[in-house]
Amino acid sequence: MAKAKPWLEPHPHGLYVRPADLWIDPSRPVERAAVTHGHADHARSGHHAVFATPETLAIMALRYGVDAAASRNAAFPYGDGFERGGVRFSFHPAGHVLGSAQIAMEYRGERIVVTGDYKRRPDPTCAPFEVVPCDIFITEATFGLPVFRHPPTEGEIAKLLAAVRAEPDRSVLVGAYALGKAQRVIAELRAAGWTAPVYIHGALEKMCQLYAVHGVDLGDLRLVGESDKAEMAGQIVLAPPSALNDRWSRRLPDPVTPMASGWMRVRQRARQRMVELPLVISDHADWDELTATIAEVNPQESWITHGSEEGLLRWCEMTQRKARALHLVGRDVEDEGGEEEA
């Protein structure tokens, strides 16, 4: 096992950058936090000062009431950054959700990159992942087992549209997490030529508006609460996963329930959740993306966190790469199926 670098300390509740006295994605309130992206298991409320991309800051303002305009908080577009305590910080696209960033840090000639969550496939709602060469690469491992190979997104969207066509009297209720997945599914639908209104659960409304403000056109969106039951037959409805089989869904005409998540690759998982149509659409890198990324970045050392660390560690061992697992707490992979706010 490699030793932790003296200037970057992994703690159960986050990574602490000692010379800068700053935390990355801390799971409890701190004085200074650099945040990779807006999901609740990375972005928490209550920090005194937040450093993030403008989009992430806007998302945190929406979700946690962070005052994005306050001078103690600072927004950095991709490629940009700041220096503190001799550490040079910069933000680079991670391809996960709108505003998601890898955070690169350089200190005394050594560079460490924290990926946050990331993926490598195209996503119409965010900037593509950028490879940043570094000495230490701290990667996520949500899908760090070789059973996870996400099929091409177009095929999954085609499945969804085929279901809509096959059930003209039912609405197709897609379970998708409120930040990122929902907007991506809508954008992919638009790219596939679906121009009809998309009906959304109230919990998705504000985030969709935020995406639109940041230039991601999601087309005609309507609230389920303000729409007729009959009007939603043969149409696509999006809701957070927790609403799929809940009382809320009774207001829809006999809904078919696809669920969009990387976990859907495993039948047993999908069945447990009573999903009728599993769509393997993920905002996390699959096994091939994870291993290819480590190979491409080719760091001296990889630190692996939240997910199936063991699988990716084993791969590093097999390919003679130096690696260790970081055990951070509070990483419940919010956007891939954890229960969340309605």
Binding site: P54, P77, Y78, G79, D80, H92, P93, G95, R120, R121, P122, P124, C126, A127, P128, E130, V131, V132, P133, L145, P146, V147, F148, R149, H150, P151, P152, I157, A158, L161, A162, R190, A191, A192, G193, W194, T195, H214, G215, D217, N245, R247, S249, T257, R265, R267, Q268, A270, R271, Q272, R273, M274, E276, D288, E289, E296, S308, G311, R314, M318
Partner: protein, 562 residues
């Protein structure tokens, strides 16, 4: 395999029976022979490839994939076939990402979304019928049938190489058996009948007479050939079934009464030198009861109750053990000598459908009974006896006898019209089952789970318990029926308002609601902590008036055990 894999995939996620039916109907109508026949055989568990076992798959995977990664994956997925299907190495998908960047800071400034692209057509077609280059079900079946223990791994590997993940899953499930897609033989036959607009009774009869891939069956279904001739074949005759008797009384000069024994309904058929044992759904269960197959040496078809020797039902005279004893023998592929000795099975015969080449089904019950009484002595009395007719002169007397059946642990009484022929299915006015009144117990709701399909948004499956002497609540059963729609709504709300913990899909509730549970019988069971298992439990009433402390004790239930 594409169509078959898509069918399996859809069936896995389809919960409603009618939707499953529609999927199979569509597949059968639009898939060529012999693929559809093999697929049907795979769905109903009629295929067996002795050279291919789970161990073959594990060994094969070990040669292709790192053992540790396989172990971690298997642990996560929980099923060998699915793990293998997902893990099988294939070329990684190409993804478009940031290409190797030499220095930091290439992407500067704020990201702008790409301009809207021209809408592509989203029309996609379902997989087309196989045969144009892809691997067909038939090719797979042929290859697996020809495999020997030594070349099975290589054959399996070459098949896996030619399929995608869904195809590999379908292949491994087909090869290893145990599809687990919720399709019974009955459902498959129904799909066939519906697909080709033929009578289900005909399908039932022909099904077991024709081996996979059922070419003659499809030819007949599509009107291309006459109904296959079944002389000299041990085929299954669809059962005659009974309606429940609800309140009405019957004239015993028109109806005859027999005890309703608590076993399973079976049919034994001997024809063309072969003997087969069928369960009610028309599934062959002979492998679990080799002694019955060996003992049935007459060219005939009988209908009866499969039981185990004992004294729980009707005492020494009744001669049958409880259903629980029979359960030890059910669902086995092979039986040990010890099982045969500890749970000796026999059939209590109540009808004769054919004998010495004559079909008796068109004759009235009285005539069949006369022939049955003459026939049974031709069978070994160690394994076959005659179901006696209950002597009662009028309906009131029968009602009294039925009430006494509680102690005898018999399920109730059957009433059969004396002049009725033996007809398939449930026909009004011919046969009635008059079950004894159910047992009831007051239990406390402990856990709840959501239902399926139409009930997916309702907590409709309830686990309930009774009190130990130490004042602890132990689960005694689970029920998901017996209530009205209005009661379901109320129960759903109760669960939501009184949840104290969640375990995945299961909610634990406050132990305050008493449910009156009705059940047919209760047995000792090692599977449950309470040591009890109920048969056919259902919610009889919601006892909002009753405090939970006053619900029944485990000891009370134990006293009802048969």
């Amino acid at each position: 395999m594409k169509r078959f894999a898509a069918l399996i995939d859809r069936l896995v996620y389809t919960r409603s029976r009618n939707s499953k039916l529609a999927l199979i109907v569509d597949y059968l109508k639009h898939t060529p022979d012999p693929d559809r026949g093999w697929a049907l055989a795979a769905l109903t568990g009629a295929l067996d490839f002795p050279a291919v076992k789970a161990g073959t798959v594990r060994a094969l995977l070990a040669s292709r994939v790192d053992e540790e990664l396989f172990r971690l994956s298997r642990h996560f997925v929980g099923d060998t076939a699915e793990t293998a299907a997902l893990l099988w190495p294939e070329k990684p998908l190409h993804f478009r990402g940031g290409v190797g960047v030499g220095s930091i800071g290439l992407a500067q400034g704020r990201w702008t979304p790409p301009a809207a692209t021209k809408p592509a057509s989203w029309q996609v077609s379902l997989p087309s019928p196989e045969g144009e280059g892809g691997l067909s079900v038939t090719q797979v079946v042929d290859a697996l049938s020809a495999a020997t223990r030594s070349d099975a791994p290589a054959i399996l590997a070459s098949l896996l190489d030619r399929l995608d993940a869904d195809g590999r899953y379908a292949l491994l499930k087909l090869a290893l058996g145990g599809m687990r897609v919720g399709v019974s033989a009955r459902l498959a036959k129904q799909a066939f009948a519906q697909a080709f607009a033929v009578a289900i009774d005909d399908v039932e009869e022909l099904w077991h007479a024709i081996p996979p891939p059922y070419a003659q069956l499809f030819a007949w279904g599509e009107g291309r050939a006459a109904r296959p001739d079944l002389a000299d074949v041990a085929f299954f005759r669809p059962f005659m079934l009974a309606h429940p008797l609800e309140g009405e009384s019957l004239d015993l000069s028109d109806y005859v009464a027999e005890w309703k024994w608590d076993g399973i309904r079976v049919q034994i058929v001997r024809g063309g030198g072969e003997t087969r044992l069928y369960s009610r759904g028309g599934e062959e269960i002979g492998a679990a009861f080799p002694e019955l197959l060996a003992a049935f040496d007459q060219d005939a078809v009988i209908d009866g109750e499969l039981l185990v020797r004992g004294e729980a039902q009707g005492g020494a005279e009744g001669g049958a053990a409880s259903f629980n004893a029979l359960q030890q023998r059910l669902g086995r592929k092979t039986v040990t000598k010890k099982m045969l000795a500890d749970y000796p099975a026999f059939v209590r015969v109540y009808d004769l459908l054919a004998v010495d080449g004559n079909d008796l089904r068109g004759l009235p019950w009285t005539e069949r009974r006369r022939q049955l009484e003459a026939f049974v002595p031709r069978l070994a009395d160690s394994h076959f006896d005659l179901s006696p007719v209950i002597e009662a002169t009028h309906f009131g007397e029968l009602a009294e006898l039925r009430a006494g059946a509680r102690d005898a642990a018999i399920e109730g009484v059957m009433l059969k019209r004396r002049d009725a022929p033996y007809v398939a299915g449930r026909r009004a006015g011919l046969w009635y089952k008059w079950k004894r009144d159910p047992l009831v117990a007051d239990c406390v709701m402990m856990y709840a789970q959501r239902g399926n399909g139409r009930r997916a948004s309702f907590y409709s499956d309830y686990t309930f318990g009774c009190w130990t002497d130490a004042g602890e609540l132990l689960p005694v059963g689970k029920a998901y029926s017996g209530f009205t729609d209005a009661e379901l709504k109320w129960l759903d709300k109760f669960v939501r308002d009184h949840t104290i913990d969640r375990f995945g899909p299961v909610r634990e509730v406050e132990k305050t609601l008493v449910l009156e549970v009705a059940f047919d019988s209760i047995h000792a069971s090692k599977r449950h902590k309470s040591g009890l298992a109920m048969r056919f439990p259902r919610i009889a009433r919601i006892r909002r008036d009753k405090p939970a402390e006053e619900a029944d004790r485990i000891a009370t239930l134990r006293a009802m055990v048969t």
